[in-house]
Symmetry: C2
């Protein structure tokens, strides 16, 4: 089997049909709930619940259940297995023999649970090697594909709808799953999700190869604890980062963290310095924490890459301007010096404007502005002027809102979004105020118009810093490719 | 006037009555709204609106208004002034002559607005020096005192109620104000708030001296851009930190940030290295960002200080355990090694427990646990066992919740809170899940029972790291005091 076909994970994400093995009792954490979640999220293919005691269930959630995969009478693409670990090698072997292309083993109790589990996991690896069936897991929540409604998680997800979008989120811990994260409240734009779990077969290299060519995925966010094939990883990551950004949170940085990782995955974790070098060679954006893993991709998805690192901020208080300048410096950005023309035009807008940070506070509380038909117009004008400046590559706009501004949100979003038209520069928004629901509402509205919003100023600016870093990396990758031609 | 009386800021925070100077038009940003906010938050003293044209207003919001402070006919403690800058020196002078003890100048347009403004500000400083009236500001939102309902901010606050509690929040930017922060959604426990603005008179040293002896304040959170009197600051901060924690965000760290600060406050900002040393000498906890400024004090307020830096975590996935160990290492905490007894007792709870991180995941999904009358009981038991261990000083408990667990919140909070009884150790909680409202609801409930909750694991652990740092600092301050006796 050559590498291309081994990395073809299509059966995991886009199967025509799925057989689900396990208990059909109505409790979360069972095959019943896998089926229920697939129906809830509108999976478009056929679903075959498989349980050796069909007399008891016969029909589940309106679907016929089967005692054995052989009874299905159709070629099955994907098996999802959540049965006691000792039963699993036989089930997967039978699937392979029956022509099933891929299996997701959701159950826990393998390498992470001691020697008995490790032996079972070795059997799974061997089955994959000898038969060609691809196996994801064990000890995983499986996959999500928002394009076809495939959601294989066994718990109750507490989620009505996952928004279809361009970010692939993957990792090797269950806490990356749709049942753990407020995807719906964030309106997080997901293409695919997956948890490679204990990696008995499918690993990060396969995922990178698959996502590099997945047209739905524009940005990849990946959580990693260990990498098994160093060179293969760098190669696959470079291939991906030459076409789309790869944001990586590599945990187990500290000695204590590496020990904790070894104890729960049974894997050997290299020193952090090696990962640092590998991730740099791979052209990946290495982030520092969970929050950045989810938040940084939003700017990368919605905005163009900055041509350089020259940063401007439009604030509402001087204090925020200072914080913004500190954050920019810590993120590898330079506080842009405006051209004389921009300074002149900003000063014409309000006598105390002209420099960067652009502190709109005094202009906004100016009685002329307040009594003008649209006191927020200063925002749009200042943003346009700053984006017009050839010395500026990226901008964070600070906006304060509360319950009383909710009726104005459509107008404000429209104005901000119009101000960015025709500028291929990177813009995001920092929102603050007294009311969390209003902030979330505004954030969703901005995002729907292509403007990523953050509830933390530092995080907004760090996202621009990472974007500028990737822009440099990509330029050098492009250059080395040209040289190879 | 000796130093003690100069630092007596009682008239700012606990005046018997307040005169409010400025426009009585019904628009946010005026004296009318200062009065309205004071009434809204239930200020207990008398309020005298002052406007030279009383014929127009006579009565405002049910209060008699006056053309001049001399007409009030009562001794006035505090003046709040929001009039055009050129009118302000005369108003404050008249207040001083009339025996008013303190004035808050809310208006902008002083040092930060150029030479004309700087001259007006010098006049204010001179009036304070020559008459003894204390002046806060200009360019400030003033003060909040939750004990008596004094809230002097001029904008609409979008807030029904500010919770009375032990954290004093002060700084030198308007963005620290109650009209800018979701205090109500956070149920943030406030004693006092204040913005020293341009510091024509009252500065950070006065605030530290006042808060050191304020019985309502248990923890101080302070944002600073510059310090004018280095030695006085260190002395005052040491006095405060010998009795309560002082959390400081010093911005203008970077060169760009310092430049931005100089341009909006007109102050000269020293190099960051000097601040670093001064803050260490002062025994202050220096935090890195806005989020930490608000979040770290919650653990310091609600929990005892840890005796040492040995940290344990109760998680729900192995992946979180690794992240927790990384965060602990980065925060100066050591991942505790449990005693043989604890290991034995945890293993008795579930065969896969025993180490630190304590990963409750497998135990929680164990069918025996799930079918027990209270699947969450494992939490309480594990937490008690860990807190019993003499090798453990502080603990973060990870809890996942969603809409479906809301009915169980009272039971879970009760159980967690009972498990901490009798242990003088530092405990906080990291909450995660799919639904933001449920998370906020659980966070408020835990806080009401004295358990600080965080929606970010790293932040929860960093808060413990800062608490352990302050615990060491305090011990050495106590020791040096004993040596002096």
């Amino acid at each position: 089997m050559n590498e291309t076909s081994r990395s073809d994970l299509n059966a995991f994400f886009d199967p025509c049909n799925v057989a689900v093995f396990g208990s059909l009792r109505e409790i979360p954490g069972t095959a019943y709930w896998v089926v229920r979640n697939m129906l809830h999220f509108g999976f478009r293919g056929d679903i075959y619940p498989i349980n050796p005691d069909p007399s008891k269930y016969g029909e589940v959630l309106g679907l016929k259940s089967y005692a054995d995969i052989n009874e299905v009478g159709e070629a099955v693409d994907l098996a999802v297995v959540i049965t006691p670990p000792p039963t699993i090698p036989e089930i997967v072997q039978k699937c392979a023999t029956g022509g099933v292309k891929a299996a997701i083993v959701l159950s826990e109790g393998f390498t992470e649970a001691g020697e008995g589990g490790a032996e079972l996991q070795r059997q799974l690896t061997e089955i994959s090697r000898s038969t060609g069936i691809r196996i994801m897991g064990p000890n995983t929540f499986g996959v999500v594909n928002t394009a076809n409604g495939l959601v294989t998680v066994p718990p109750y997800t507490d989620t009505e709808r996952i928004e279809r979008g361009g970010i692939a989120v993957c990792g090797q811990t269950g806490s990356i799953g749709p049942h753990q994260i407020p995807l719906e409240d964030w309106a997080y734009p997901v293409s695919k999700m997956c948890d490679i779990g204990n990696k008995c077969d499918v690993n990060e290299v396969d995922i990178l190869n698959y996502l590099a060519t997945d047209p739905e995925t524009k940005v990849v966010a990946m959580h990693l604890e260990d990498v098994r094939e160093g060179e293969g990883f760098i190669e696959a990551a470079r291939r991906l980062t030459s076409v789309k950004p790869l944001v990586i949170l590599k945990t187990g940085r500290s000695e204590a963290g590496a020990r904790a990782s070894a104890s729960h995955t049974g894997s050997i974790v290299g020193t952090d310095r090696i990962y640092e070098i590998a991730l740099r060679q791979a052209g990946a954006i290495r982030v520092n924490n969970w929050q950045e893993l989810f938040e940084v991709p939003r700017t990368l998805l919605l905005q163009p890459l900055p041509a350089g690192n020259r940063f401007a901020v439009i604030t509402l208080t001087g204090g925020q301007g200072v914080i913004a300048a500190d954050s920019a410096s810590a993120s590898g950005l330079a506080v842009a010096r405006f051209s004389p023309e921009t300074t002149r035009n900003l000063s014409a807008l309000s006598p105390r404007l002209g420099g960067n940070p652009v502190d709109l506070g005094p202009a906004m509380s100016d009685s002329r502005t307040m009594s003008s038909p649209n006191p927020f117009a200063a925002y749009g004008e200042a943003l346009s002027l700053v984006l017009d400046d050839a010395n500026v590559d990226c901008v964070t706009v600070v906006f304060a809102c509360g319950r009383q501004t909710v009726p104005l949100f459509p107008m404000i979003v429209d104005m901000l979004s119009k101000s960015t038209v025709g500028h291929a520069k990177t813009v995001n928004v920092f929102l603050y105020g007294t009311n969390l629901s209003a902030l979330q509402e505004m954030s969703r509205r901005l995002q729907a118009q292509g403007l990523p919003a953050y509830l933390d100023l530092d995080l907004a600016i760090r996202s621009l810093g990472y974007a500028a870093y990737y822009s440099r990396v990509k330029a050098s990758l492009d250059e080395s490719r040209l040289l190879c031609v």
